[in-house]
Symmetry: C2
Subunit: 204 residues, 2 copies
Amino acid sequence: MSYSVTVQELIDQLGRLPGIGPKSAQRVAFYLLKAPPEDALRLSRAIAEAKEKVSFCDRCFNLSEGGEECAICRDPRRESRLLCVVEDSQDIVAVERTQEFRGRYHVLQGAFSPIDGIGVDQLRVKELMTRVGEEDVEEVIVATNPNLEGEATAALLVKYLKPMGVRVTRLASGLPVGGDLEYADELTLGRALEGRQLLDAGDD
Amino acid sequence: MSYSVTVQELIDQLGRLPGIGPKSAQRVAFYLLKAPPEDALRLSRAIAEAKEKVSFCDRCFNLSEGGEECAICRDPRRESRLLCVVEDSQDIVAVERTQEFRGRYHVLQGAFSPIDGIGVDQLRVKELMTRVGEEDVEEVIVATNPNLEGEATAALLVKYLKPMGVRVTRLASGLPVGGDLEYADELTLGRALEGRQLLDAGDD
């Protein structure tokens, strides 16, 4: 005996999700089979509804609901001279949480990683260049992740954007606030040294 | 900015699944949002379909599809004098894979664990006793997991079933086949010693 077609299809579909292996897929499937119908159907509906309502913004490729442009692109109070480039929509939520940024965004929908088949053409780089050419962008803040792919993406963007006469900046790397020097890895500490800033006594 | 209601609902529903924390829920949600609609909707449908078609067997509480009794209970070639008691439907698949068992099953739908609020009343113990009383069961093989909860469940079942005059057995504990004595934990090795079996030279 193995599982019925219906149960196997559920396990298979769950197993395709990222971070869910065959064992977890089976556990989740049985959880759903045992759960009250309304709970399981709420998940089923949430997926269907999200696919129906949520799409990507025509301009910045952030998630957008009920319209062609996302809420940030439609907001006239947002400064269009500042453009923050991120890898994914999730990163916008992280930057917004700082309440330090009032500009606009551009979502690349990934990071440069030729080994995974993600080249410039798979990212929204062409669209970024069009925006920089057409909108009155003065500064592009590259907020890709501080890892190998993110750094490669940043290097690539500088190469493309510099000739267009726009200022290209990168988020600072260094010690996380509340962190401990003793436990910092050597790369982070190296970056923190490299990017050290002058302390101002305040009275000169 | 945080996520829209639709996206947040998707993240919340995914986060309720076992083994999926808030970060994984977010990653899975964004995977689904980015996936081709047909892929995401296949998962949505698989859940809805499973909840619609799959129920629990009236007799043994195994998963059952398209009927009140499961395929094993309906199979007349199954010996009803042997009853294998397991914690979950998944365990039936594991036992069936051995091709060593031709009896019937009874799924407890959990294991005795008062600390998690699972007492005798939450398990299908009453139904098991009714079956043992009504069907011509000669032996109940307790195949609960060899862990704390499984052992507690086994002890409980013996207490209830012995007075009914039925033979109650337990799966053997010991060294896994292909395992290494050196790496066996002391409990398993202790069990293997305790349950040691006489070697037969074959000629006496």
